[in-house]
Symmetry: C2
Amino acid sequence: MTTPATDHASAPYHHGDLRALLVRVGRDMLERDGLRGFSLRALARAAGVSHAAPVHHFRNLSTLLAACAADGYRELSDALEAARAAEPEPRGTLGEMAAVYLHFAERHPVLFHLMFDRQSLAERTPEFGAEAHRAYELLCTAVRAAARPGDAAAFDQAVNTVWGLIHGMSVLSIEGQICRTSESAPDTATMLRAALHAVVRGHVDPPGR
Amino acid sequence: MTTPATDHASAPYHHGDLRALLVRVGRDMLERDGLRGFSLRALARAAGVSHAAPVHHFRNLSTLLAACAADGYRELSDALEAARAAEPEPRGTLGEMAAVYLHFAERHPVLFHLMFDRQSLAERTPEFGAEAHRAYELLCTAVRAAARPGDAAAFDQAVNTVWGLIHGMSVLSIEGQICRTSESAPDTATMLRAALHAVVRGHVDPPGR
DNA sequence: TGTTGAACTTGTCACTGACAAGATTGGCAT
DNA sequence: ATGCCAATCTTGTCAGTGACAAGTTCAACA
């Protein structure tokens, strides 16, 4: 059998870096066919290995899914970092991060859904926790920089509403639930930026009492 | 409630109303064990019928899941209607609806996740579409009443951000991701109400400022 | 009363996740 | 070099699953 041309490097044992290959092929399969048809054996077939080979890299299906989700968080975190680097001004950073978040969700809807499903990810790997935490910290830092300084309660309020808004609109976009009765309505990212402005302003003013 | 609409099928046949029983038991199993362990045969066992009995009520697993999700939307819509009846003042209605939405998500996290997963619900029943649309219309109406009159684009903006915010914070709450660095921070529902105020105000002001 | 057809059962098949045991292969002490 | 070792991968197997087919029960009705 011809060697599957996995270029050298990381840990080419028998097959090459099968673990990375499985995550890559797994993410492709997830996006193409969704979660319900997802199968360890189908994945092994697609990767060109025997049906039990993945077990040596992932204890079970949940662990494999967690690895795919962790890979997604890594990609998202990298994109968030790039957004911050491209637009260092605090309010601008937050808007860019929101756009990046939304864009990630739209490009990887199934994975995005998986990343936020505690049930499917019952087996959380340390890798998953680390990458998820990294994305979270990036967002928190951006919120802290964008919002005027306040007490801890105000910060909690700001982080939760900002992340909630970004995440919620991303989900609606994925599900095709974004309302567009008007032709002149701006695109989803623009709507999200405008709403973020309102929320960030709103959290410093006493809420309407 | 009322008797099912289908006259000829409403009377208990061999087993009683197995369809309703399956949905009820199915929702219980979903919340207890999550989606991955979910199995038509396990459901049949739990309901005390043979492994193939559910097929006569649900073409396949997806259809059954869609029925459970539709049942969830029905429950949510009923709760939203009750919220509107209890608090007819427009801004108050919106806040109450948000609290109801959040509460529903927290009490039925797995089902809630399922209700917003286009992949798992590839087979959409008419029942599902109708109940989902009912919840959506309730929310739209409430937003229209609460926001100052504007053009269609402003309405789109308001609906999308309001629903996005409510949905996003509900997801964060389910996932245990609500940030609470301060003891004095209000509970999630209160944070959500405050953020809604900011968003509803923000959408009438020009966001450019 | 006998027929009909929906509701339900039993039986079966290919497929899946998980496990066990054997085979391959690179690294390493001797 | 030699030979052992352990990680990687394969083959084989088992119970459980979704889906389908064919048989059984039983309320409704002509």
